[in-house]
Amino acid sequence: MTNLLTIAFTAFFIENVLLYQFLGICSFIGVGKKRSSSLGMGLAVVVTIILAGMATWAIYRYVMEPLEIGYMKTIVFILVIAALVQMMETIIKKFSPALYKALGIYLPLITTNCAVLGVAITNITRDYSFAEMLVYSAAIPLGYLFVMYIYAIIREKLELNPVPKAFRGVPIAMILAALLAIIFSRFGGLI
């Protein structure tokens, strides 16, 4: 149990997917401008990573390992993720147009979000059990959502402030991310 808690805390705060592992930075810069879009993208990523984590873990354990084709995991995982995202899009579109309106536009972007493939591969390289994999695959995207939301709040306020011309846009967003990274790096002292 403590083991699972450690994995969850480490994944959420210390090894935060955006501020420490640098996965999904493209979406961080692009979508993290507004609260509403960061929330939508964040939730879509949470659902996708949990589902993709389970699917890729099961395929690796029960199909690829017995066949001894573990070296093909990158290509198999990316195809699984692409198919999964496509499926999610179709299902959500059919059953909940409202949800599709909220999350739909972010779904195609998720296939190329490195956080999804990154978590799937980390689950395997760290040799996680099913429970560990599930905790890790939930804590990582929740950490993503959390940081992205805070980031969006600050950036919305920042819009109203006089930023030096050269720093407008991505540069100031990076400096802001650096400040957040300093804060999050301090969580390491807790374990």
Binding site: F22, C26, Y71, T122, V170, A178, A181
Partner: protein
Amino acid sequence: MDFKAVRENFFKGFVKENPLFVTVLGTCPALAITTKVENAVGMGIALFFVLILSNLLVSLVTFRPKLRALVMPVRIPVYIVLIATLVVITEMLMEAFLQPLYVTLGVFIPLIVVNCIIFGRAEAYASDHKPLESMVDGAGMALGYTMAIILISLFREILGAGTITIWAQGNANVVLDLHFIYDFLGIAPIDMFAKPVGAFVTYGLILAVIAAVSNAKAEKAKIAAAGVKK
């Protein structure tokens, strides 16, 4: 083939359309692995290999009209398979021949699959250009990107560790030790630059400098244009 056009095509990846500094693509590895110059060089080599060949293959399967008609309806999965195959080959070759570097770069080698630069070039360039032109485009973009991450890693390694590790794999050990500068100044290297914080700060500052320069250039052009009008 027009030599000048080829040259222009090759060099546009360096400055005008630099993937990292102008179009802001491929940021994840640029921030994550730039703690040492050597890592940036290794990542550059891997990306160079994948991007040239992926551009070539994408161009080959979309160049002939008959094949193009077959591929176009399913082009996204086709591109994914092509790119992923190349990445897995790179992964295996690196694990066999550059094992320590493979360990340091870790998950960022397989993540080349989802690097926006590769997919972007396939979609925006290689899918409607000739094979050779596509390869030149890939080479230019990959070298431009490599240059950019080497620049970031230079700042981070010099400031963060006080060294420049150009290549230290196997028997080669090309490391410049700059600690004498720090000794002379009586300070220690700034640890922060080796940490994630340093990645964001360095990248942000470089982008700001580039923005400042291009702003100044635009201003100058504007004044010049106005002067001509008068």
